[in-house]
Every structure is written in structure tokens, then in C-alpha cells.
């Protein structure tokens, strides 16, 4: 039988030499292992959260969510995210712009320090804020004298959340902006564009998908953060409990319906994160070409 033309991809596929038994086995082993990890470590627990939450019917679920403390926790989580995420977006943009476009002393330090929150344990992150802003911390006395409360209050929660979710936007943008360089911005400048025009018409369109990725990841982390927030929160139900803290408190609270209530709240938290993932997926599906072109070059 005559072989097909070499350039024809389909013939390549069909005419592929049968893989040896060992290679086939390895292939299935690796795929199997990956599937097992995703299934066992991710999907199953996630499923468990929703099943447990709804195990005693909708009523218990509804009761758990109707609790004023739970509602306060949801509001607080959204508030903290609403402050921390835009702040980190601005920080990420500024840091990426500086690192990609300017030469300055300490640039490599800045670049390295952005990763610090990934490396430092969230508990430590929380403690440093207590150390600096707490009653016995460096600025604690001054803050108290002026009637300002950071630790065991919302500002502390925002600070701790910002700390742990800081790298996401910057890390998405820096490699992209470095690769893109600043020639297009320079061209726009010679054509008469001002700073804001350059940002909104040239830079932002080039980085929008990476920026969105970063913001979505930053948001997911902001809403889900437990460790750092736990240290600075003080665990005052209805006041300084974010959703993850509320889940933990209810779970350890020892009430008869503790498990179900905790799972009901946890499912809500998981749902918020899943919505984030869904948006990301939806955007990928809608704008797949643009994403492939600009965000993941």
C-alpha cells in the first residue's frame, strides 16, 4: 500500500507506528494518576461539601444561611475582597509597569519581594500586622490614641488579605509586559497620545486578559483566606468573622447541627470560588482566540 503524502497530518496520525506496550502502559498510568488526584483530592471533597450541606434537606441549609452572624460574615468577606482586590490590582499594575518599563535601583529586589507572600506562612503574615499595629505593637499606641483600630477590626482583615493575595495580579502581568516591551507605548507617545490615552488605548488592551486572570485568582484567594485573617480577626461573630472564619467557628462550636451548618457555609464559600472559575472558563470560551493571542503569549 502506498503511503499518503508526508505533509498530510492525518496520514501521520494513522500511519503512526504502534507504540510499544511499555509506552502505552506509561501513558495510561500517568493519565490515571492525574485523574485520581483530581478526583480524590478535588472533586470528591467538593461534592462532599454540597452533599453534606444538603443532607438534611434545604431547611437546615436555609436556617444556617439565615443566621445573622453568617450573613454578616458573607457581607464582611465581600467587603474585604471589594477593597483588597482593586487595591492589589492597582499595585500589580504599578509594579508590573515599573519592572517592565523602567530601569531603577532595587528593581530585582522588588521583583523578588513580590513573591514573598507565597513563601511566608499566612500565620506569620497575620502576626506581623499584630506586631506593627496591635495594642502593644509599634504604632499601636499612636493608633489607639487617635481612636483607630486596625487589629481585631476590618482594617486589619483588609491588610492581611491584601498581603496574602498581593502577588497574583503582578505575577500575571510582569512576564507579559516584559515580553511586550514599551515600543508601542513609545509610538503612541510620538503620535500625540497622553499618559492616560496610552494606558487605556494601548497598554490595557494588550494586557486585559492577563489582568482579568490575575484579578480572578486574587479574588478567589481574598475570599478564601483563613490563616492570616484568623490571627488579626479576634473572631467576633457578626463583627470580624469572615466566611472562612465563620465556617471554622461553627464547625468547632459543638452545637448539634454544627457539621451541617458548617458545610452549608462552606458550600457557599465554595460556590463563590466556583463562580470565579466559571467566569474564567466562560471568558476563555468566548474569547479563546484573543486569550491565546494576548494573555498567554
Amino acid at each position: 500500500m502506498a503511503p499518503g503524502p508526508l505533509m498530510d497530518g492525518t496520514h501521520f496520525m494513522v500511519a503512526r507506528r504502534p507504540a510499544s506496550w511499555g509506552a502505552t502502559a506509561l501513558r495510561w498510568l500517568l493519565i490515571g494518576a492525574a485523574m485520581l488526584c483530581i478526583g480524590g483530592l478535588l472533586l470528591l471533597p467538593l461534592l462532599a461539601v454540597f452533599i453534606e450541606a444538603l443532607s438534611r434537606g434545604w431547611t437546615v441549609f436555609a436556617v444556617a444561611l439565615a443566621d445573622p452572624d453568617a450573613q454578616a460574615a458573607v457581607r464582611l468577606t465581600l467587603t474585604v475582597a471589594a477593597i483588597a482586590v482593586p487595591a492589589n490590582m492597582l499595585f500589580g499594575l504599578a509594579a508590573a509597569w515599573s519592572i517592565a518599563h523602567y530601569q531603577f535601583r532595587g528593581k530585582s529586589w522588588l521583583n523578588a519581594l513580590i513573591d514573598l507572600p507565597f513563601a511566608v506562612s499566612p500565620v506569620v503574615a497575620g502576626l506581623i500586622y499584630v506586631l506593627v499595629y496591635g495594642s502593644y505593637g509599634w504604632f499601636g499606641g499612636w493608633l489607639e490614641a487617635h481612636g483607630l483600630r486596625v487589629i481585631f477590626a476590618v482594617p486589619g482583615l483588609v491588610l492581611a488579605t491584601m498581603f496574602v493575595s498581593m502577588p497574583f495580579v503582578a505575577r500575571e502581568l510582569i512576564p507579559l509586559m516584559q515580553a511586550q516591551g514599551s515600543e508601542e507605548e513609545a509610538a503612541a507617545r510620538t503620535l500625540g497620545a497622553g499618559g492616560w490615552q496610552i494606558f487605556f488605548r494601548i497598554t490595557l488592551p494588550k494586557i486585559r486578559w492577563a489582568l482579568l486572570y490575575g484579578v480572578l485568582l486574587c479574588n478567589a484567594r481574598s475570599m478564601g483566606e483563613f490563616g492570616a485573617v484568623s490571627v488579626v480577626s479576634g473572631h467576633l461573630p457578626g463583627l470580624t468573622n469572615t466566611l472562612p472564619l465563620q465556617v471554622d467557628q461553627v464547625y468547632n462550636g459543638g452545637r448539634s447541627d454544627a457539621i451541617t451548618s458548617a458545610f452549608a457555609l462552606a458550600s457557599l464559600l465554595a460556590l463563590l470560588t466556583l463562580v470565579t472559575l466559571l467566569i474564567k472558563r466562560l471568558l476563555e470560551w468566548r474569547h479563546g482566540d484573543a486569550l491565546a493571542r494576548s494573555a498567554r503569549q
Binding site: E184, A186, A187, L191, A193, K206
Partner: protein, 392 residues
């Protein structure tokens, strides 16, 4: 005189001359520009030619406002150009890699400079559209306004970049290695085209290149740069025929260089004593002697010239290039027509009598203008071993 095609409606034709004086730019360890002074006349097409790192692109970026000099002035018709922000200079720049806006269509790219204007100066939508169409026609890209830059060939992108820069009716057009990223054939075609376009528009143009052929072929005047300094400014012919420095002689065209000394009014090369009219001031000096390959005449057999051995012969189109060796070990390049080579029945390893029609002598270390003289054939002189030149 033909009206410039983009003369403003009020007939205020913007044609500008540029005066650069004493411009310096220092980076951490080296002088990118070292006290550059240059006048560019209205409507002139000037090439900045030099090896990489000679400061040509730095000069262009300073003029565009993308870099700041440490010292010096730039005047545009008497107005201080450096006091203006890049966005207010009205200088069109075509970048080496075009820097087209990848997320915009070709038409949007070209219209950009008009759309970002303040409302009072911004043309209406229809006017912008008309202008874009006109520019697309100008750069021979009708019908591709709706494409994205990624869908264009290199030559097309280059022309879009040019149209985009021209859209703002620039008083000065800067081109940074405009053909650098194109393949050889496209480059040659675009050269003539760009030259014609520039003449038709009459826009003052500064054009950076490291390709001497490009510079000599296209420019009204060529500025040869080296290590942040201007070596020579002149017409392409002056640059080639009367190089003022050794760098220019070596950088432009092909040339050979020999070391010698002036003794008793004669030029002494290793194994050779060359007669000719040499200024007395050079007496006793060490000199560098430069010559062009096409200036090396092939003398008939038996005539007295420089006895040189043909070491390599290479046919390059209609020309034959030869490398000629002296017994003392130095060598020069020569260029002859293929007929001459046939007439003399030249082949490798034969010894010929050759004589340069013209030699350019630079005092060593270089000081002042070079001296050009015509070497005389030296009848009766024993060519080898007869002199006691410094290199013998």
C-alpha cells in the same frame, strides 16, 4: 513648485529645519552621543550611518522625545524642541520593528494620531476616514484597512508604520532602520519607493541605517557616526570620494590600508619607494595609506609599477576582485573588469605590475585633513630591497 500633498487647509505648509548643537548623552559606562552638532535643512533626506553602538538610534530617540540628552540644544526653526514633551513635538517616527498596535486594525493604527487629539483639533469622523484612505493609497495598501498587523507581510507592516507616522503631518520624519527587518529583495524595491515618496511630500527626514549602500543610494546627505561622534557629513559622493577620516575610508566602500613613512619627499612602503607630490609638513612622519580597489590600475607587461603577486581572483558579477601580495607580506585589494583580466591573461599566483591612481595619506596619529596624491611610476628603481624604509 508642486504643492505638498498634505499642506494644511489654511495653506500653512509646515516645513522645518533642525539645528542640533553640542548634544551629548551618556549612559553609565559609555558616551552614546558625544557633543554632536548637525544642521538638517528643510525637506532634506539625511541618513545617519554607522556601526551598531555609534549613537544613531540614541540621536533619533532624543529628537523624538523618547530619551533626554545630558547636554546640548535642538532647535526646530528657532524653537527649542527639547522643551516640548514627546507627545507635543509632532515628529513622526517609524520604529525598527514598526511597533504597530497589534490589537487595532490597519485603519485604526493609521487614524490613531488623529483620534487622540484634543476635541478642538480633532478632525471629524469622515475627515479621518478620508485621510486614512488617502494614506493607504499613498503607501499602496488600498483595501487592507480592515486587517490586523499580524495578517500583513513585513513590507506591508513597514508601510503601515510609515502611513501612521505621516498621518499627524509631522514636521520631521524619523526612520529607525526602516528596512532592517525585511528580506534583501523587498529592501531594494522599497528604497526607491520611499525616496520618491519623501521627495513628493518634501518632509524633512532623518533615517538611521547601518547599511552604507542604503545610505549612499537614498540620502541627500550622509552623516557617518562612530562611537557617539560625527566622523563626516557630506553628500554620498563626498563621503565616498573624499573621506575625511580613516574610519570613514574604512567603513564606506572597500579599501586597503598600508603603513608607511615619508622620507625625503617620498612615500616609503615596505620594499617600495613611491614618488608623488607630498606636502613638506609630512616629512619624516609615520602615515597610513588608504586606497580603493577600483583605483588600482593594471599596467602593461614591462611597465614600471608595483610588482605584486595575484593571490586570489574572484569573479563578482561583471567585476573581478583580486587580492595582491607584495613580497614583504602586505596586501591590497584590486577590482578590474573581467575583460581586463582576460586581456592580461591573469590567473592566480602570477606577478603583475600594478599602480594605484590615487593614494590617501593620513598622518599617524591622525591629525588634520588627509592628503591625496597620485603616485608616479618610478622608472629604473629597483623595487625590492632597495629602500631602507621603516618596515623593511
Amino acid at each position: 513648485m508642486a504643492m505638498r500633498w498634505h499642506a494644511r487647509r489654511d495653506n500653512k505648509v509646515e516645513r522645518m529645519s533642525i539645528t542640533i548643537s553640542d548634544l551629548s548623552r551618556r549612559y553609565e559606562s559609555f558616551n552614546a552621543l558625544d557633543a554632536i552638532s548637525l544642521d538638517v535643512g528643510t525637506g532634506e533626506f539625511v541618513a545617519l550611518l554607522g556601526p551598531s553602538g555609534s549613537g544613531k538610534t540614541t540621536l533619533l530617540r532624543i529628537l523624538a522625545g523618547l530619551d533626554q540628552p545630558d547636554h546640548g540644544r535642538v532647535l526646530r526653526d528657532g524653537e527649542d524642541l527639547l522643551a516640548l514633551e514627546a507627545q507635543h513635538r509632532g515628529i513622526g517616527m517609524v520604529f525598527q520593528h514598526y511597533a504597530l498596535f497589534a490589537h487595532m486594525r490597519v485603519a485604526e493604527n493609521i487614524a490613531f494620531g488623529l483620534r487622540v487629539r484634543k476635541r478642538a483639533q480633532r478632525p471629524g469622523k469622515a475627515q479621518i476616514q478620508a485621510r486614512v484612505d488617502e494614506l493607504l493609497r499613498r503607501v499602496q495598501l488600498e483595501g487592507i484597512g480592515q486587517r490586523y498587523p499580524a495578517q500583513l507581510s513585513g513590507g506591508q507592516r513597514q508601510r503601515v508604520a510609515l502611513a501612521r507616522a505621516l498621518a499627524i503631518e509631522p514636521s520631521l520624519l524619523l526612520l529607525d532602520e526602516p528596512f532592517g527587518a525585511l528580506d534583501a529583495q523587498v529592501r531594494v524595491t522599497l528604497r526607491g519607493w520611499l525616496r520618491d515618496l519623501q521627495r513628493a511630500l518634501g518632509v524633512t527626514t532623518l533615517f538611521v541605517t547601518h547599511d552604507q549602500e542604503e545610505a549612499l543610494e537614498m540620502a541627500d546627505r550622509v552623516v557617518v557616526m562612530n562611537q557617539g561622534r560625527i566622523e563626516q557629513v557630506g553628500t554620498p559622493e563626498q563621503i565616498y570620494r573624499q573621506p575625511r577620516t580613516q574610519f570613514v575610508h574604512g567603513f564606506i566602500g572597500r579599501s586597503s590600508r598600508l603603513d608607511g613613512r615619508i622620507v625625503q619627499g617620498h612615500l616609503h612602503l615596505p620594499g617600495l619607494r613611491v614618488a608623488g607630490s607630498l606636502p613638506a609638513a609630512l616629512e619624516g612622519r609615520e602615515v597610513s595609506v588608504w586606497l580603493r580597489p577600483e583605483q588600482v590600475a593594471l599596467l602593461p607587461e614591462g611597465a614600471h609599477g608595483w610588482p605584486l603577486q595575484v593571490r586570489y581572483l574572484r569573479q563578482v558579477g561583471a567585476l573581478t576582485r583580486a587580492t595582491l601580495f607584495a613580497a614583504q607580506g602586505w596586501q591590497i585589494e584590486a577590482e578590474w573588469s573581467s575583460e581586463q583580466v582576460a586581456q592580461h591573461a591573469l590567473r592566480e599566483d602570477v606577478t603583475v605590475q600594478a599602480l594605484p591612481r590615487e593614494l590617501t595619506v593620513f598622518e599617524q596619529p591622525t591629525a588634520g585633513a588627509p592628503h591625496v596624491f597620485r603616485p608616479q611610476p618610478a622608472p629604473g628603481e629597483a623595487p625590492q630591497g632597495a629602500t631602507t624604509g621603516p618596515h623593511a
